[in-house]
């Protein structure tokens, strides 16, 4: 069963984090990914650029609009995702508890419904 772990947290610059803070975060994310990989549960992961780099498209009154900035202007932004393949929710929650950002932002665990294999949709199981 596939679960996506969505990491939401307040966005910080290297300056906000202070001396060595950024590097420490990188080290923690590396260790986390390595542990997931070694356990054989990691399908894929991605840490996103800050929401200031995002561009949002939406159709308003039938007109497609392209705008700078994130979909929702909230304090905590989606910062990264980990896709895991584990037997059940308890296993997914156990891994989510160890996510490096759990100390400073919400960690959401959501079961997948369907995903693609070679471009073809396959149900989650």
């Amino acid at each position: 069963m596939r679960y996506t772990i969505l990491l939401h947290y307040p966005e910080m610059t290297p300056e906000d984090l202070g001396e060595g803070g950024w590097e420490e975060g990188e080290r923690e994310f590396s260790a986390y990914a390595a542990t997931l990989q070694a356990a054989g549960v990691l399908v894929g992961a991605e840490v996103l650029q800050p929401s200031s780099s995002t561009t949002t498209l939406r159709t308003v009154d039938g007109v497609l609009q392209v705008q700078d900035g994130p979909f929702a202007d909230t304090k905590e932004q989606l910062g990264g995702t980990f896709v895991l393949d584990v037997p059940d929710l308890d296993a997914a929650l156990d891994w989510a508890k160890r996510a490096p950002s759990v100390g400073w932002g919400a960690v959401e665990v959501r079961p997948g419904a369907t995903h693609t294999v070679d471009g073809v949709w396959v149900p989650n199981a």
Partner: protein, 397 residues
């Protein structure tokens, strides 16, 4: 059949129901589906048993029919669209229902209790889920106990079961490492079942709540707090008063208490007693046991109660325990000391605080203030019998 025998037969039937639901759901992860299949099996039993006779092992018969029913559901679902989630796994996999030996029906209700009180399930639906799936109570009965419209309760239950299946909450008993983190929620939900039965609306289910607490303690076997909870619930049940009028604990006639239940509750409390600091439920059960001891001694041991409430306030501080402690202090050191021990007026308003304050004011002879406080306590109560009692005390001044 006497009312008692009927209740016992119904309990036995619903016990089987809980066991079978737990077993069927354990292998599929889908509670709603398990319940539907079992409902079909019971329906078939009602038509075939009167004609063919009751099978040698009724539970195994029901399980087999329900299992076949599940398999039919999967087949037709598989034919309709691509395999919905775990159906393929359940049909073919080693966890499949086929492995269930109908002659050795194991008790998986403990796993089901942990599913009902899983952290991913909203706290307000955990107790209703247990009452419906483990105790086999109708959702309308559950709704009435919680004073919630039946439709709303039904919707909550359906949503929770859908969530259990969709997120794949595993039907397992947590291992030793996870147990300390997971067990309190289960105890709390079982306690919640007892708590609703202490209200007028839920009174008819008091026996059910006690049964659930004893089932939990028996299945866990050696957990002190679970036995303490069973003791607490059993001793409270023993003091249940006949009739509709509310009688405060220290004015109850001990001769009306059920001595068998008192003995049973005390035996559970002994199983909960072990070295080390007592937990919240052991203290609460001990408080009940002190009250029950009035049967033997003829007097309430207020000093023992003060010690226990102080300990409870240290282990599990709550507005409720602090308010109760103040009432006990009022009996020992006089109403003024009790009033001084009351916490500041809580917001939002807390009914037991107003009831305790009213009683202390009345004992202190502050009649007008007492009248006002009794009125406030009555107004805040959601139990008609308690309201009537408080109104009567307000009038008697």
């Amino acid at each position: 059949m006497t009312a008692g025998a009927r209740a016992a037969a119904e309990r036995a039937a619903r016990d089987s129901y809980g066991r079978l639901v737990a077993l069927l759901a354990t292998s599929t992860g889908d509670l709603a589906q398990a319940e539907d299949a079992l409902a079909d099996a019971f329906e078939r039993a009602l038509t075939t048993w009167p004609a063919d006779g009751v099978p040698r092992n009724p539970d195994a018969w029901l399980l087999t029919v329900a299992r076949n029913r599940l398999r039919d559901v999967w087949r037709s679902a598989a034919a309709r669209r691509w395999a919905p989630l775990d159906d393929a796994r359940a049909l073919a996999g080693p966890d499949g229902v086929d492995d269930v030996d109908p002659d050795a029906i194991e008790d998986r209700r403990l796993a089901l209790l942990f599913v009902c009180a899983h952290p991913a399930i909203a706290p307000d639906v955990r107790t209703p889920l247990m009452m419906q799936t483990v105790l086999g109570l109708d959702s309308q009965v559950v709704a009435r106990a919680f004073a919630v419209p039946p439709g709303a309760m039904q919707q909550r239950l359906v949503r929770a079961k859908r969530r259990i299946a969709a997120t794949r909450i595993p039907f397992v008993v947590p291992d030793r490492r996870a147990m300390p983190e997971r067990l309190p929620a289960v105890l709390e939900a079982v306690y919640g079942c007892a708590a609703v039965t202490w209200r007028q609306d839920g009174r008819a289910l008091a026996g059910e709540a006690q049964h659930l607490a004893v089932v939990l303690a028996s299945l866990l076997d050696d957990d002190a707090e679970a036995w303490a909870l069973a003791a607490l619930v059993t001793l409270s049940l023993a003091r249940r008063q006949p009739g509709d009028a509310f009688v405060p604990l220290d004015e109850q006639d001990p001769a009306t208490w059920d001595e068998h239940l008192v003995a049973e509750g005390e035996s559970y409390l002994r199983r909960a007693t072990r070295p080390g600091p007592p937990g919240r439920f052991r203290l609460e059960a001990a408080i009940q046991a002190v009250h029950c001891d009035r049967r033997r001694t003829g007097a309430v041991d207020w000093a023992a109660l003060r010690t226990l409430y102080r300990a409870l306030d240290a282990v599990a501080p709550s507005l409720g325990s602090r308010t109760a402690l103040a009432a006990v202090v009022g009996r020992l050191d006089g109403p003024d000391a009790g009033l001084a021990a009351l916490p500041p007026e809580p917001a939002p308003a807390f009914q037991p605080w107003w009831a305790a304050r009213a009683d202390l004011l009345a004992r202190a002879g502050r009649r007008q203030e007492a009248k006002d406080a009794f009125a406030r306590a009555a107004e805040l109560s959601d139990d008609e019998a308690v309201r009537d009692y408080l109104e009567a005390r307000r009038r008697s001044g």
